[in-house]
């Protein structure tokens, strides 16, 4: 009875729960687990178990299911941290994060603010900006490779209108991260616009109008009302955008025909993991690199939460 009372309190059951409601509770518990069983099995096998498995693998020299793996401690981690190619992949990934997230957020916020009023064609604009987001990455990377073509590409032709000389976008390593960032901003912009637009439309307009009547100009309204009120949306967008940009792979892989850019100069962390695991077949080593990626993403996310603590205002 004592146990029942404690359990009831913990489970938020009503005071004076009878034997009959307890029976219903246990019946519900079994039914709930029946409902959850398929999802739980998939999550367990393909999301939770591999987190543990990746770590144990990263401490071995595993490379094939047929060869018994040996425990090597933190050897893989030591080797990765001394590999210049790994650091190049970290640098390129960082360039990609910095080259896509802030620009996407700024452009999207601007577009969302323009769209956040009664204007004609609003549905059309929203659709036009969003369509790239649903395009097939492989197909659209082929299209961009064609646009970036140094001889017959649309980009060089259009830059010619402004007297800008043709560049070898896909052949010179200095442009590799640039081309990937352009594609990523183009593809992801509309999604961010839609999220910002929702955030803006969800705001209380009375407050802004009151401030305007009191003589505040548009800049002041934006700085002191719109921006702080939008901060939860901005925070959500930043967190998810940063996590996603750490995973950059497919666009690079397709645009450069399966190679990490010309002279391998555009390698990213996921590309590094991919090459180690599936070209070199050092899967223990690749797991260690994956774990380093995991911790980097985690550290950046924790930092963002810490940074946002005082700057995000939930009403």
């Amino acid at each position: 009875m004592k146990f029942g009372a404690t359990l009831g309190k913990w489970l938020d059951m009503p005071v004076g729960t009878t034997r009959w409601t307890w029976r219903k509770f246990w019946a519900d518990t079994s039914l709930a687990y029946l409902f959850l069983l398929p999802s739980l099995a998939v999550i367990g096998l393909f999301s939770l178990y591999p987190v543990v498995k990746a770590f144990t693998l990263s401490l071995t020299n595993y490379f094939s299911p047929r060869v018994p793996a040996e425990f090597v401690g933190f050897q893989n981690y030591r080797e990765i941290l001394q590999d210049p190619l790994f650091w190049k992949s970290v640098k390129n990934t960082a360039i990609y994060v910095v080259g896509t997230v802030p620009i996407t957020i700024l452009l999207a916020l601007g577009i969302a603010m323009l769209l956040n009023r009664k204007i004609h064609l609003r549905a059309f604009y929203r659709l036009a900006y969003f369509v790239p987001y649903v395009t097939t990455a492989v197909a659209i990377s082929m299209v961009w490779a064609w646009i970036f073509h140094d001889q017959w590409g649309l980009l060089n032709y259009m830059l010619g209108w402004f007297g800008i000389p043709a560049q070898k976008w896909l052949l010179e390593p200095k442009w590799t991260m640039f081309t990937i960032c352009v594609l990523a901003v183009w593809k992801g912009l509309g999604y961010t616009v839609v999220l910002f637009l929702a955030g803006l439309q969800n705001m209380d307009r009375e407050l802004m109008n009151a401030a305007r009547i009191d003589g505040a100009n548009e800049n002041q309204v934006f700085r002191h009302i719109t921006w702080p009120m939008l901060s939860p949306t901005t925070f959500f967008i930043t967190i998810t955008a940063v996590i996603n940009s750490f995973k950059v792979f497919t666009e690079l892989f397709v645009m450069y025909g399966g190679r990490p850019g010309p002279l391998r100069e555009g390698i990213t962390i996921v590309f590094y993991i991919y090459e180690k695991a599936w070209d070199d077949h050092v899967m223990g080593y690749a797991s260690a690199a994956a774990y380093i990626l995991f911790f980097m993403v985690l550290a950046v996310t924790v930092f963002q939460f810490w940074y946002a603590r005082k700057r995000v205002h939930y009403s």
Partner: protein, 284 residues
């Protein structure tokens, strides 16, 4: 009077409106241009693709390019079949599993609920790419390498979808549940007869998200399949790019073909879809 104080004089207002449209239209053209360029190139002749300055409108649209693209790869029909098969099975399975899981989390009291829900949510923080190697090993151990199951099963659960549908289920009045209970309906009947008919929009969104994600998937299907009989459209496209050399009109026709299913599905449901995406951000 008050309107003017807020929005400025009528002249300034119309100048602003025109400027807004100019900016937005310029942006929209840039967003659409790559897709337009893809379709335009796909309808050109080979010499026309190499013309300089490039032609924005093909002189005579070469619809035959699409036939050529379809037959350039002997397996293209097979790739489409595989993509549809994997996408639809993944989508249907996911929707069914999501309905049950979301209902349990939204409407049932059970032992360990908060712990389990926390566990589910925590998986959203793990970048999927980190799990590629262990999951690949699991697939080989299950003897699923080079099977449909390898491409389908790992993607039948989306915690994001469960979260989305749970939010929706939570908004349906609890009085309905009590009334149904007094009428003798248990959880299962309540779920199917009352909750589901009230939840068509979020379920459609979840299905659409999965359709797009699954159709566009590249890295995982590439890793777990080997034979051409099992490969999906994106992977077939990739190999086309490596085979075909410089025939850009055929590439672009193939790229267009590959994208038609997602674009059609998206355009058919775009209004509903954009609203749900917008809502997902507000709750985050």
């Amino acid at each position: 009077m008050q309107e003017n104080a807020v929005a400025g004089s009528p002249v300034w207002r119309s100048v602003k409106a025109v400027l807004t449209h100019v900016l937005l239209m310029f942006g929209a053209i840039i967003m659409i241009l790559p897709l337009y360029w893809m379709v335009a190139t796909s309808l050109k002749t080979y010499p026309e693709t190499l013309a300089y300055p490039p032609k924005f409108i093909p002189s005579i649209p070469q619809f035959i390019n699409y036939v050529d693209a379809w037959y350039s790869q002997t397996h293209f029909a097979r790739y489409f079949y595989n993509s549809f098969y994997v996408t639809i099975v993944t989508m249907v399975t996911e929707v069914i599993m999501t309905i049950f899981a979301s209902y349990a989390f939204a409407r049932m009291k059970f032992l360990g609920k908060n712990i389990l829900f926390g566990l589910f949510l925590s998986t959203m923080m793990i970048p999927g790419e980190v799990l590629l190697v262990p999951n690949f090993i699991t697939i080989t151990k299950l003897n699923w390498y080079n099977t449909y199951a390898a491409m389908i099963v790992p993607f039948t659960v989306s915690v994001f979808a469960i979260f989305l549908l749970r939010q929706h289920f939570l908004q349906i009045p609890f009085e309905l549940q009590e009334a149904a209970y007094l009428d003798g309906a248990g959880h299962t009947r309540f779920l199917f007869q009352i909750m589901l008919p009230l939840s068509r929009p979020p379920i459609a969104t979840i299905a659409l998200l999965k359709f797009i994600g699954s159709w566009n998937a590249f890295l995982w299907p590439l890793l777990v399949t080997q034979s051409a009989e099992l490969r999906t459209v994106p992977i077939g496209l990739m190999s086309l790019m490596q085979d075909e050399g410089l025939k850009y009109h055929i590439w672009m026709a193939s790229a267009t073909l590959a994208m038609i299913p997602v674009l059609v599905v998206f355009l058919a449901a775009q209004k509903q879809f954009l609203e749900s995406v917008a809502k997902s951000g507000l709750k985050g």
